[in-house]
């Protein structure tokens, strides 16, 4: 990296840690990377957060109220999308929503100030893709287990004339098969775009400040002010993307559970 230049995508580089470069399982490399480390931190923070609120007090404290508002939020999401049957998906959708939310937010924290380099696992499509495939697999398993081959009637909307079925069926099938890709890519792209934007703007701040008073005034300062606003926007996006992922999982599960 040249002096005063910032590589906006360097932050997404995966580096093996603790000398585990060649750790392998059945021939596949499973090095413990910075990405894995931040997934571990996310899981740990999540366990601590929810564990601290699982005190089961009849009159809840602040922490318990916070955890209960999250579980209640996901529970409402399931109830409004799937109905009373949605309760059984609460463990999965809650884990999904909180894991994505915490991973997104932890990756935004200014921990570099104390020497840590935050990494956002959800900015990698290998991670978001696995989460999307997991949701999609659950939809398929539930759909076929509950409705058998009748599940294919999902691709023929109500009131379709018989003549139109040969055309509608492939269209619906394609839109169904695209779901895991759109689900995974949406989260990955939103996370990556925000981080790249912040990095590019911070590059402007650094080179503008190095370039003297004039470039500081016309480039560095406006970029810095813009960064402050975009940081707030990114916090919003972190929450919204987690919500969208959980919401779409609920909507897809509703298809499998209730089939129209």
């Amino acid at each position: 990296m040249a002096e005063g230049k910032v590589d906006p995508v360097h932050q997404f580089t995966i580096e093996p840690l603790f000398g585990t470069d060649h750790l392998a399982l059945a021939g596949y490399n499973i090095a413990f990377t910075n990405s894995a480390l931040w997934m571990a931190i996310t899981a740990l923070v999540l366990v601590v957060f929810v564990g601290g609120g699982a005190k089961q007090a009849q009159v809840p404290g602040r922490w318990q109220m916070a955890v209960e508002s999250f579980t209640g939020f996901v529970d409402d999401l399931l109830r409004s999308n799937i109905g009373a049957n949605g309760r059984k998906y609460l463990p999965y959708v809650f884990s999904l929503f909180m894991f994505i939310l915490f991973a997104n937010v932890l990756g935004l924290l200014p921990l570099a100030l104390i020497g840590l380099h935050p990494f956002t696992p959800t900015s990698h499509f290998t991670v978001t893709g696995v989460l999307a495939i997991m949701s999609f697999s659950i939809v398929l398993i539930v759909g076929f287990a509950k409705h058998g081959f009748h599940f294919f009637s999902l691709f023929v909307p109500h009131g379709t004339p018989a003549l139109m079925i040969p055309i509608i069926f492939p269209i619906e099938l394609i839109s169904f098969m695209v779901r895991p890709f759109s689900l995974g890519l949406r989260l990955f792209v939103a996370m990556m775009a925000g981080h790249v934007l912040l990095e590019v703007l911070s590059g402007f701040v650094i080179s503008g400040t190095n370039g003297g008073a004039l470039t500081f005034g016309i480039a560095a300062l406006p970029s810095f002010l813009l960064m402050i606003g975009i940081c707030a926007l990114e916090l919003l996006v972190a929450g919204i993307q987690a919500y969208v992922f959980a919401l779409l999982t609920c909507v897809y599960l509703n298809d499998a559970e209730n089939l129209h």
Partner: protein, 163 residues
């Protein structure tokens, strides 16, 4: 873009560690803690609903008791009013009776007194006649030197007095 450039070397590690840590979250948080939290929330909701229902029932009971008390109070008030009214009527009747009696007694005494007065007056007139007749006899005997019969004097005086 490292996501694509490093794909071949890192995909297995990414997928493996995601499954490890997401699995950890799912089993420890999702399966372990969330049901407890939801059970607490549900039991609290149930408790609140039960408490509200109990409070509502208690309020209804209190309302019913108040209503009963109110009807009882108004009934007792009506009874008291009726009692007062009869007592008043009886007292008025008794007073009237006693008034009538007293009037009668007064009338009787009045009539008696009037009779006495009339008798006294009659007695007094007789006496005046006698005195006047004697005086007339005396005057006549003194002035004319006549001896007047007592009865004649009396008749004369009576004629004079009564016209």
């Amino acid at each position: 873009m490292p996501q694509i450039a490093q794909l071949a070397t890192t995909y297995s590690s990414q997928i493996f560690w995601l499954l490890v840590f997401f699995g950890l979250v799912f089993f420890v948080v999702g399966r372990g803690m969330v049901p407890k939290v939801m059970a607490t929330v549900d039991s609290r909701d149930k408790q609140i609903a039960a408490d509200l229902a109990a409070a509502d029932a208690a309020r209804k009971a209190a309302d019913a008791q108040e209503e009963a008390w109110r009807t009882q109070a108004s009934r007792q008030r009506a009874e008291a009013q009726a009692l007062i009214a009869t007592a008043k009527a009886e007292a008025a009747k008794a007073a009237e009776v006693r008034l009538v009696e007293a009037n009668r007694a007064i009338d009787a005494r009045l009539a008696e007194a009037e009779a006495r007065i009339a008798a006294a007056r009659a007695g007094a007139l007789d006496e005046i006649e006698t005195v006047a007749a004697e005086a007339a006899g005396d005057i006549v005997s003194r002035l004319a030197g006549l001896a007047v019969d007592q009865d004649a004097a009396r008749v004369a005086v009576k004629e004079l007095l009564h016209g």
